[in-house]
Amino acid sequence: MPRPLALRLLEAAPLLLFLAVILLFGTQSAGFLTAANAAQILAQAAPTVIVAVGMTFVLLTAGVDLSVGALMFIGAGVAGHLAIAGYPLPVSIAVMVAIGVAGGGVNALLVSRFGLVPFVATLATLYIGRGLGRWITETRAMNLPESFLVIGASEPLGLPLPVWAAAAVAVAGQCVLSTTPFGRYLYALGADPEGARKAGLPTRRLIAAVYVISGACAGLGGLLALARLGAVSPRFGEFYEFDAITASVLGGTSLYGGRGRVLPDTVVGALLIKTIFSGLVSVQADPYLYPLITATIIFLAVAVDSARSRLAARLTRRVIRVDA
């Protein structure tokens, strides 16, 4: 049975929307359709892409991780102190990722061991993380030494290092999801947790793993964001959780679990968001419009998601008779 055109169109909606946005801003602003701007957008999107990859893993299990931005903040605070104290760069990098993993481990414990609802568990770690981060940074902005900016500034093979890092994470993420048993287990778990348990899948370990992965991605994403900004402000990492969720859902990951891909879906979603905001800047849109635009994007993402699943349900209905 070939997939009907309407369904394929809806499934391609993120990509079509992406093209439309590029066309729209391209015709409105001369500087928009340039290689430099494209590289700029990619570099801006890199941290979001990485965090969103981790988020996709969590969303596949019908969970959610609201703590990613806060974990980025703690990691940045600690790494900032280390960098200022003169520790070499690799130490800061390792510490940031380790903090992400540790924070993810706390989420994993709360959700898989104590059975807390992911929304509530990660909301708690979000607040704890923000509080800890403020304590570590003493609610002051920290400016990092030059050595830290190397990550953001170096451009192997013509693209900024963060872009390569994001691409590597996305490719690795998709490989894990589509070619390893672990990845396929996540889809099974997201579709039917009780069935997954009955099938003998290690459901608790799987759930724990996605939060650890999400935490690690937050650590890595935080590192790249920090390398771009060169400073830790008290609002560092804020709203990354929403960007990541929006990117995943906009790309086609279902909030109900069991459906979604990192490549191309989540990556397209993340690039779409960043392109829109970059375009708004390039046409010098009123900054007060941004929240409205964000709201529209989220609304669109969810609307497309539900339209897609409704249509899929209708179209995969059994054919009872072959009409002449």
Binding site: R184, A188, G195, K198, A199, R317, R321, V322, D323
Partner: protein, 501 residues
């Protein structure tokens, strides 16, 4: 020769209530054991113990002569026990091959990646063995219920199972798939598998099993070779008393006043020019094979799915809109999947029962729920549908299938509907509860309600209906008044006709 499975003195109590009181049974390799009993007799608990889902309080199990005490489903699988559950456990968002290999994906050279080509190839072999002609890389959500059942069995075969437990395997199957499944079981039996077959379809049990164990109240009520039993004697053992007539006495059909009229209903690929009339006080059956479009017809009548052509009239006035509007006009619909569509499983019985007509149980001026009236109505309906032992505060999911169905009926009958549509109303329900549901439907029809019963069981329809319509391929293939109820004729009308071109 060692028994494939031997269970001895198995006991289990839940919260102090004994469910199994010393069960002993054996099944030999290459034989099929039928396990029958009313709902709540302990069949599921017993098999859950064998499948590692539940631990027994006392007793011993051996598999192939070795002592066996599974603590998890994985232990049971390792020992070669495969369990095909009543509710299918496949993952719709994975492919057939992925479902077949879920916990043991083939890999190559010790790499962490799945060897997808090998997986698809092995899956195709298994599908060929069970006679399913679908591609192994097809998503399971695009298969029919019958096809999924075959995939489940393919999975058991692929897991090198020595013991295959099938819990109500044929309830979701049409006559043709059912036949195919039974012949597949024979093949597996010849290949040396020990099969435990749990079913309420007693004639099927007698037809396919070598021996039968009858459970009643957690004890073995009877056991022996299948040839020593008849359906009648099995039923007698199950209920522990001489069965009264399962089907209520033939009733005088209602008057011929049309109640629900369907005129040339059509929807591309689903329904073609369906016309029918349900009369006041009539019990009208709709028979058909799986996928004949019966459930789809019911959904259209209830406003759940749309139809592109034709009209539906209730008492001469057109029926339109969604379920809410149609319920207000007096329609009620008991769906085929009571766990999925019919009940809020976590919610208490009382909440489920009053869900549809909650607005009628409110007090002016603020329209707050009148708790006293609600309790009284729940008590009245519980008596009315003979819902024994089920406390109103218990979550509906904890009830047996028969009692769940009674809760659903009570929900609709709280305010008697003009038209009641039922889709497979007794699927997976024990004999005792069935009889009570049939009686209830007859009483309802006697008050003038038109009852439309969809069923795959001919016996059920011929037992309770005044008239039967047969559907095939989305259209009405025949109409049979009570004096022409001949099983062979009805079945023949249901068989698909070749579409030319």
């Amino acid at each position: 020769m060692n028994a494939a499975v031997a269970m001895a003195g198995i006991q289990k109590a839940f919260g102090g209530v004994p469910v199994l009181r010393g069960i002993t049974l054996e099944v030999a390799p290459g034989s099929i054991l039928g396990l029958v009993g009313e709902n709540g007799a302990g069949k599921s608990t017993l098999m859950n113990i064998l499948g590692g889902n539940v631990q027994p309080d006392a007793g011993s199990i051996s598999v192939g002569g070795q002592p066996f005490s599974p603590r998890t489903p994985a232990d049971a699988r390792t020992a070669g026990i495969a369990f095909v559950h009543q509710e299918l456990t496949l993952f719709g968002n994975l492919t057939i091959a992925e479902n077949l290999h879920l916990t043991r994906f083939p890999r190559r050279w010790g790499l962490p990646w799945i060897d997808r080509r090998a997986s698809v190839r092995q899956a195709a072999d298994l599908l060929a063995r069970v006679g399913l002609s679908q591609r192994a890389d097809m998503l399971v959500e695009r298969l029919t219920a019958g096809e999924r059942q075959l995939v489940e069995i393919a999975r058991a075969i692929g897991a090198q199972a020595r013991v295959l437990i099938l819990d109500e395997p044929t309830t979701s199957l049409g006559a043709v798939e059912r036949g195919r499944l039974l012949s597949l079981l024979r093949e597996l039996q010849d290949a040396g598998l020990a099969i435990i077959f749990i079913s309420h379809e007693l004639s099927e049990v007698l037809q396919i099993c070598d021996s039968v164990v009858v459970l009643r109240d957690g004890q073995v009520a009877g056991t022996g070779s299948a040839s020593t039993f008849s359906v009648q004697s099995l039923v007698a053992l199950m209920v522990g008393r001489e069965v009264r007539q399962l089907y209520p006495p033939v009733r005088a059909p209602g008057n011929q006043e049309p109640l629900l009229e369907v005129r040339r209903l059509g929807e591309p690929s689903v329904a073609h020019e369906i016309s029918l009339t349900l009369h006041r006080g009539e019990m009208l059956g709709v028979f058909g094979l799986m996928g004949a479009g019966r459930s789809e017809l019911a959904r259209m009548l209830f406003g759940l799915d749309r139809h592109t052509s034709g009209d539906v009239l209730l008492e001469g006035r057109p029926l339109s809109g969604g379920p809410a509007q149609r319920i207000r006009r007096g329609l009620a619909f008991v769906t085929e999947d009571r766990r999925q569509d019919g009940l809020c499983l976590e919610a208490p019985v009382a909440d489920n029962m009053t869900l549809v007509h909650l607005a009628a149980l409110t007090r002016t001026p603020l329209r707050l729920i009148d708790r006293a009236a609600l309790r009284a109505e729940v008590a009245r309906m519980s008596t009315d549908v003979r819902l024994t032992r089920a406390a109103p505060h218990l979550p509906a999911g904890r009830l047996s299938g028969g009692n769940q169905q009674k809760v659903i009926l009570a929900k609709w009958l709280l305010r008697p509907p003009r038209v009641l549509i039922l889709d497979e109303p007794t699927r997976g329900i024990d004999v005792g509860a069935r009889g009570e549901i049939y009686e209830l439907l007859h009483r309802l029809a006697d008050t003038g309600t038109g009852v439309l019963v969809i069923s795959s069981e001919l016996e059920e329809l011929t037992g309770i209906c005044d008239r039967i319509l047969v559907m095939r391929q989305g259209e009405i293939g025949g109409e049979f008044p009570r004096d022409r109820f001949v099983r062979e004729d009805l079945l023949r009308a249901a068989l698909p006709v070749r579409v030319s071109g």
